[in-house]
């Protein structure tokens, strides 16, 4: 089956101010992935691992330095961002942003915020059509009609989050990229949004790429998970399997760091020391070795490739953990 979106060898670097001349931050380094239609994939890792950059590369919000990107089999990396924005494929990939407040134009009412992509991307034939679509998606996300006339200042965090989701869904995308959509919400708000996303996924058959550092949320919502570290994918596989029995030491440290109610206190496998740097990393060494409890001599000599471990699991490690 053709993947919905497929990326091969994506590279994105940024110039670094203040460091040595010509130094570059390798936010995303030769990364490849694929998302099947209707699939829910989690993308997780610490801050600074590049997941937000990767999300924006896939959403074609920023340009890539190198690599191939195709949507439903059609390459899209060659178009400029400006041209992609007005192409018919723009509506197929949409995004929900992290901060519900910041992601809404203070000058638009909720209605206008949701209607804007309709007007820009769907060529509606009349105002009535715009209204119909906005109302339909507002109902779908549980946003009462009376809230549509309000400006962001008059909405709660949870309501603003739903406006953001409605705005992304109104153009009927095939892939919805969500950048930490629950981190600014408290427990009840998170529960609401997660159930909503699961329902939208079923009803609209939309694929989800869920960027989050909250592993509980990834566990509940995603079929597959990819763990990123310093610009690379270090582990991937079915979400529950990966989180229950990680094969990469970094994933295991992440998992044990996240408290589970009723769970025991996972034997202090907390990662000490500062994360390594993504600035001009050594291409001949594993980027995790400075914090890895299992690091051996080979890890400093050779960068491990992403190896298949069977049952859909992959890990970038010379000495993967036992399953």
């Amino acid at each position: 089956m053709t993947p919905l979106i497929e990326a091969a060898g994506l590279v994105k670097t940024f110039a670094v101010r203040g460091a040595a001349r010509g130094a570059r931050l390798h936010a995303v380094d030769a990364l490849s992935l694929a998302v099947a239609p209707g699939e829910a994939v989690g993308l997780t890792g610490e801050s600074g691992c590049g997941k937000s950059t990767l999300a924006r590369l896939l959403a074609r919000l920023i340009d890539l330095d190198a690599g191939a990107l195709s949507l439903e089999g059609v390459p899209i990396e060659t178009m400029s961002i400006g041209r992609f924005a007005v192409s018919p494929q723009r509506r197929l990939i949409q995004m929900v942003f992290q901060d519900p407040t910041e992601s809404l134009n203070p000058r638009f009412t909720a209605f206008e915020a949701i209607a804007d992509p309709v007007r820009a991307l769907l060529r509606p034939k009349s105002r009535a059509e715009v209204e119909t679509r906005v109302h339909a998606v507002a109902d779908q996300v549980g946003l009462g009609r009376e809230l549509l006339a309000r400006s962001p200042r008059q909405l709660s965090q949870g309501q603003k989050a739903r406006v953001g989701i409605a705005r992304a869904m109104v153009v009927e995308p095939k892939l919805l990229i969500l950048d930490e959509p629950t981190s600014s919400l408290d427990a009840s708000g998170q529960a609401t949004v997660l159930r909503l996303l699961a329902r939208l996924r079923r009803e609209a058959d939309v694929a989800l790429l869920f960027v989050s550092h909250d592993l509980n949320v990834v566990r509940l919502l995603c079929d597959r998970v990819m763990v990123m570290h310093l610009g690379e994918i270090v582990e991937s596989g079915p979400a529950r399997a990966v989180l229950a029995a990680p094969r990469h030491p970094y994933t295991r440290a992440l998992v044990s760091a996240v408290p589970r109610i009723g769970g025991g206190d996972a034997e202090g496998r907390a990662l000490d020391g500062e994360p390594g740097s993504a600035i001009d990393p050594d291409p001949n060494a594993c980027r995790f070795r400075s914090r890895c409890p299992n690091a051996r001599e080979l890890c400093a000599r050779e960068a491990p490739p992403l190896r298949a471990l069977g049952q859909g699991r992959e890990a970038r490690c010379h000495f993967p953990l036992e399953g």
């Binding site: 009840s188 159930r195 206190d265 500062e274």
Partner: protein
């Protein structure tokens, strides 16, 4: 004797548009060497309660009833100057946003030194040595070099460690940690919380951990107080609370936490919103209007915490 004993604490904010009844007869205790979790959604009054105890409330706030006793001494009745002297020395606080709590134009070593100098004046090199020791205690790597670092040069995790170092510099006996790991990664969060827990038990500090993250409370707290709309609805040892919460709101809160759910269907959001605290007609139980178990008796005030088990109390007329 409890390190901190808060009883019947009520706080109001007087605004132009009305009066906000922020806290309603809040009671809880913190004990030396233990971590008490104060858990609730945003707006539940957890931070207000902590700030009231420390005397850090906004000038518009007024304590209308209750006591807060620290090692037997009445904090609320104290003269401000006396309480200022306690703060930083015996009472310490770690704030939510580490960068906002640090002075951006002073090195962290100097900031730790400032606190020490204020409460335990000593010659400059003695202070420097103590500051260095404080940085080591929070396990900052390469402390001699980091002493001179400014907050903007440090990551969020390191800033928070510096904040903890400042809080612990003068050996406090009560530490309030207000959402200390919000915005930090899970791995950094684990390190910071492990640190706080170790310090608490090693030095016999009473810790109050304010958080909206139930899983965090589960992992690190010995006892938990659940707050809703300015009221404490349940206090219990953690196993008792998480195994079987007796207050309908606490129960719903547990069911809405992603960390507590095995699958999406088990996740139950809480219906409705907390009441507006400016209303003049707030019911005695502020959760009653959303509660499925509400009956006439629930409108009979005032509502107090009733014991339902060892160290387990609930403010409810019809506990589960």
């Amino acid at each position: 004797m409890n390190a901190l004993s808060v009883s019947d604490l009520s706080v109001e904010y007087r605004l132009r548009s009305g009066v906000v009844r922020a806290l309603d007869r809040v009671s809880f205790e913190a004990r030396a060497g233990e971590i008490l979790g104060v858990v609730g959604e945003s707006g539940s009054g957890k931070t207000t309660a902590a700030f009231a105890v420390l005397g850090l409330l906004d000038p518009a706030a007024r304590v209308t009833s209750g006591r807060a006793d620290f090692e037997g001494r009445d904090l609320l009745g104290m003269r401000p100057a006396e309480r200022d002297g306690l703060r930083g020395r015996d009472l310490a606080i770690v704030f939510q946003n580490p960068r906002a709590a640090l002075n951006p134009i002073r090195s962290i070593g100097a900031q730790i030194g400032d606190v020490i100098a204020r409460h335990a004046p000593a010659p400059a090199d003695a202070i420097r040595a103590k500051a260095l020791a404080a940085l080591r205690a929070v396990r900052i790597a390469d402390p001699e070099r980091r002493m001179a670092a400014f907050p903007y040069e440090l990551s969020g995790g390191l800033c928070q460690r510096a904040g903890i170092a400042i809080a612990l510099a003068c050996a406090p006996r009560l530490l309030i940690a207000d959402e200390p790991t919000t915005g930090l990664d899970a791995t950094t969060q684990a390190v910071i919380m492990d640190l706080i827990r170790d310090m608490a038990s090693e030095r016999g500090i009473a810790v109050i951990l304010i958080t909206h993250d139930l899983a965090l409370a589960w992992r690190y707290c010995d006892r938990v107080a659940v707050m809703h709309a300015g009221q404490v609805v349940e206090t219990a040892p953690r196993e008792a609370l998480f195994a079987h919460a007796r207050h309908p709101y606490a129960d719903k809160l547990l069911r809405s936490a992603p960390a507590n759910a095995d699958n999406l269907d088990a996740l139950e959001p809480i219906e409705g919103d907390p009441p507006n605290l400016m209303r003049a007609d707030l019911p005695p139980c502020r959760f009653s209007e959303r509660c499925s178990r509400r009956q006439a008796i629930c409108d009979v005030g005032p509502l107090v915490l009733q014991p339902v088990g060892p160290e387990h109390a609930v403010a409810c007329r019809r506990p589960l």
